[in-house]
Symmetry: C2
Subunit: 242 residues, 2 copies
């Protein structure tokens, strides 16, 4: 039974290979914040051809699992006063996620210290000790971080944080035809999930073509306030005489 | 009082000039069908810089008015067995809309017969007789239809149906640098609202630049299933060896 369960998770994860994962997240301050809405967003994503969902909080994931039965990359975003790490920073968020058992749990792997001064390596071994079968994804921002995560034994290496940390500032996932992704792809043993600023179908196609295991697209599908902003900005250019 | 109310509607409509209107619609068969979700979508649109909302059904409009206070172009989509006209086809839909009084009511103006064999001209005069102060928008698909709607006295001429009727098949709003829009703009007296397949910020900017009074953008902001489809299609091209 245990084996079947495991095999099923493996199969579900394999169904993501070469495919699109849609990130359905809305933080409390965002207009679509609501597990009900995220569940419907995930249905929309599935209808459009998504093979998996990335989602935040056990509550949202539970709703998404109920509504879509798609494999999920789960995270819990939480801000602690003593650390800049906010994507699944502590065991508390791991426990929350284990209550809904997403196929993959993703966490910050940028090398910044977690709350109470816990390092990524320490945290990784705590999680693996308690949940040895849980697949884990490392949200990295640089090649060095990707290499470390790969050595630690993360099941998936993600480019989620490229451009979003001080050490990756000015870099962008798409820069020089995805140079950072290509470098990571040829340096690590574990499969790489492309994520972070993938905001056009062409970019999504290109990262799969380059060899990413899967691609995660978020805001340009599920954050209408940001999509609207692109339209409003284009129109405002006219007023500035551009 | 009556005058103040009218003036206020006029002012609210003027606030749309040169601006973005976001269409927030989800039909019963769509994953986001829910007045609650459409209300939150409208909040997201306002947050992103939308100046108005186009919406379907009194229920959705009521929620959107409560959540955003933005001016609304209201429609009611309803299919009748004896007509292909489904955007505000009869007085029943007008009455439904008048229960929430959107600043503008839009209706099919493609020249097709409405239910019970009522022509556009007959319907327009029925509506104007009962609600002389209500601003009306004509959803047209061809230049001839736009000219007729203009002569009938519609307050706004819309390109909503270009490409979506038998008589406009093969045409697209953006074709030949928006040839149909430019022709309508220099042929009609009333302001023109660009709508229909405006799915990039560049197109939205261009139609305003050409002189459209406002631009309505819908699916590419508020239909995540269609946005997802574009991504999934791009990735699928790889499997076809493209």
């Amino acid at each position: 039974m245990e084996n079947n369960m495991e095999k099923s998770v493996e199969e579900r994860i394999r169904s993501l290979k070469g495919r699109l994962i849609v990130s359905c997240q809305a933080l409390p301050e965002e207009p679509l914040h609501s597990s009900f809405i995220m569940g419907r967003m995930a249905v929309a994503a599935r209808q459009g051809g998504a093979s998996g969902i990335r989602a935040n909080t056990a509550e949202d994931i539970r709703e998404i699992q109920k509504e879509t039965h798609l494999p999920v990359i789960g995270i819990v975003k939480h801000n602690y006063p003593d650390s800049g790490v906010y994507i699944t920073p502590t065991m508390r968020e791991i426990e929350e996620l284990m209550s809904v058992k997403p196929e993959i749990i993703a966490m910050d792997a940028t090398g910044a210290m977690r709350p109470k001064g816990v390092s990524l390596a320490e945290f990784f071994s705590q999680v693996k000790e308690k949940y040895p079968d849980q697949k884990l994804m490392a949200d990295c921002s640089t090649i060095a971080e990707a290499l470390l995560a790969d050595q630690l034994g993360f099941d998936f290496i993600g480019t989620t944080m490229v451009g979003y940390t001080p050490q990756s500032q000015g870099n962008r996932i798409e820069k020089d035809d995805f140079a950072i992704l290509r470098e990571i792809l040829c340096s690590v043993k574990h499969p790489v999930i492309a994520e972070g600023n993938i905001n056009t179908p062409e970019k999504a196609k290109r990262v799969i073509e380059l060899g990413a295991y899967a691609v995660v697209v978020g805001s340009s599908i599920t954050r209408p306030q940001l999509i609207t902003r692109e339209y409003a900005k284009a129109i405002e250019e006219l007023e500035k005489g551009d």
